[in-house]
Amino acid sequence: MMSNEKKIVTETVPGQALKEVIHIEGLYKSFGDNHVLNGFNMKLYEGENLVVMGKSGSGKSVMIKCLVGLVKPDAGKIIVMGQDIGGLNQEALDILRADIGFLFQGSALYDSMTVRENLEFPMRRHQKKMGVVTDTTPFVLEALKSVGLEHTMDLMPEELSGGMKRRVALARAIILRPKIILYDEPTSGLDPITSKEIIELMRNIQKEYGTSSLIITHDVDCARVISERMILLVDGINYAEGTFQDLTNSSDPKVQAFFKK
C-alpha cells in the first residue's frame, strides 16, 4: 500500500468555494478475508463530474453501493447532501434516495415491465410516499426525450438493444430530477460508438439538469472525455487524485498502469 505522501493531490476544484454533495471519510468494507475498501476518502462537489477509476474487483461498485445504503460499510462516514447515511432510518433514506439517480452496470431494467412502467415505477413510489398523485406521462415522455427514445415507451426491455437499454436506464435515473447521479460502469459491454453516445448523453444531462455526477469506470476513454477530476482506487484507498492530464503525466508505475494501451 502506498503512503499518503506518494499520492498526487491536485485541487482542481476550489473546495472552499463549492458545496460538497458527497463526503466519504475512512470507508472500510470487507467480505470475509477480502478487504475491499481500506479507508477510502472522497468528496464530490456540486455540479462536478468526478470519475473513480480502478481495476475490476477493486471495490468501485461496493463503494458506490455504500453511498445509497445498498451495502453497509464496516466503518467510515458517508455524508450525502449533509445527511449521514449511517444514521438515517428507512423512511429518511428513501427520501434521500429520490435525490440520487443510479445507473446500474447492466441497466437493471425490470424485465416484466414496459419501458413506460420502468420509468413510472420510481415516480409512483415516490409520489405514494409524499402523498402526491400526478399524471406521470409528461415526466416519462420528457425523460425519454432527453435520451432520444420517446418511441420505445410501450416496448418491453427484451425488445431493446444494449445501448437502448442503457439509455432507458439513464432516463429512469433522471426521472425524479435527482441532484446527484451515480454511474456504475456506464459504458461497459457497449461498442465504441454506443459508448460515445452514452457519454455524450451524460454530458447533456449534466448541462440540462445541473446534476453532480460520480462515474465509476475502468474505461479510459470515458474518463478522458467526461472527467473534471479523477480518483484512482487502488488497494481499497484513493491512491491518486487529480485531473485526467495530471494522472496521465504521473510517473508512478501504479498510476501509469491504468493508462498504458
Binding site: 437493471a108 431494467l109 425490470y110 415505477f121 405514494k128 410516499k129
Partner: protein
C-alpha cells in the same frame, strides 16, 4: 475426510433450515404492515393461477381416470365395486388431490419464482428497486408468498373436481353408473372431517411453495449459473418440505379422528 464432508453437509442443511425459518419470520414481520402492495399481489395471483391451471386440471383428470381403472379389477374381485365412489372420493379429497396439485405447482411455480427472483438478483433489478424507494422484500417476496398461499387451495379444489369427474367417466363407461349416482355417493361419503384438514393443509402447501421459491431466488448467487441452481433447488427443497408438511398434517388430523 468423508466424515468431515458429511458433517459439513449436515451443518449446511441445518443452516439452510435456520435461514429459511428466519426468512419466514421476516415475512410475518413485514407482510402484514402497511403499505400493502395490493396491485402486485393480484397480478401474482393471476400469474400463479394462470400458469398452473391447465397443468393441474390435466393431472387431476388423469389421476382420477387411472386410480379408478387400477382399482376396478381388485374391487370387482372382492365384490366391492359399488364402494368405488367412496374410495376414490375420500382418497382424492383427503390426500391425492392436495399432494399431487402441490407437487405439480412446486415444479411449475416454485421453480418459476426461484428463476425469476434469481435473475432479478443477478441483474441488479432488486437493487434498482431498493434504490427507487421500494422495499423489494415486500414487493417481490410477500406478494408471491401470499399469492401461492391463497391460490393453491383454489387449484386443489379444481383439481379434485376434475379428478372426480375423470373417475366418474370411467365408472359411467365401464360400470354403467350415472354421473348423478356417482357424485351423490361421493358427497355422502365425504364429511367435514375430510374437507377441512385437506383445505388447511393446502394453505400450508401453498405457503411452502412460495416461501422456498422466494428464498432460493432472493438469495441466489454465482451469476447466471446460480439462477438455474435456484430454480432447481427450489423444486427439490419444496417437494421434500411438502411431504414433511403432509406427514405432520396427517399425524395431527389423525389425533382429532381418534378423539
Amino acid at each position: 475426510m468423508r466424515t468431515s464432508q458429511a458433517t459439513l453437509r449436515i451443518r449446511k442443511f441445518f443452516m439452510e433450515i435456520g435461514e429459511l425459518s428466519y426468512f419466514a419470520g421476516r415475512f410475518f414481520k413485514v407482510g402484514f404492515r402497511p403499505p400493502y402492495e395490493f396491485k402486485e399481489f393480484l397480478r401474482q395471483c393471476y400469474n400463479m393461477g394462470n400458469r398452473s391451471l391447465v397443468l393441474v386440471l390435466v393431472t387431476g383428470f388423469i389421476i382420477g381416470l387411472v386410480l379408478t381403472l387400477q382399482s376396478r379389477p381388485t374391487l370387482i374381485e372382492f365384490g366391492a365395486v359399488s364402494w368405488m365412489p367412496n374410495m376414490v372420493g375420500i382418497s382424492i379429497v383427503r390426500e391425492l388431490g392436495p399432494v399431487i396439485t402441490a407437487l405439480v405447482c412446486a415444479g411449475r411455480i416454485a421453480s418459476g419464482i426461484g428463476a425469476e427472483l434469481g435473475s432479478m438478483r443477478v441483474t441488479e433489478q432488486i437493487d434498482a428497486m431498493e434504490v427507487s424507494g421500494t422495499n423489494p422484500f415486500k414487493f417481490l417476496v410477500v406478494t408471491r408468498i401470499m399469492a401461492t398461499t391463497l391460490m393453491l387451495p383454489l387449484l386443489v379444489i379444481l383439481g379434485d373436481a376434475v379428478a372426480l369427474y375423470g373417475s366418474a367417466l370411467v365408472e359411467n363407461f365401464k360400470g354403467n353408473v350415472s354421473f348423478q349416482l356417482y357424485f351423490n355417493t361421493v358427497f355422502s361419503a365425504l364429511s367435514y372431517g375430510d374437507l377441512i384438514p385437506a383445505t388447511i393443509k393446502s394453505f400450508f402447501f401453498g405457503f411452502a411453495i412460495g416461501l422456498v421459491g422466494c428464498y432460493k431466488g432472493y438469495y441466489s448467487k454465482k451469476g447466471t449459473a446460480g439462477v438455474g441452481m435456484a430454480a432447481n433447488t427450489a423444486v427439490v427443497f419444496t417437494s421434500m418440505l411438502l411431504f414433511v408438511i403432509d406427514f405432520i398434517a396427517v399425524f395431527i388430523s389423525d389425533i382429532f379422528y381418534e378423539l
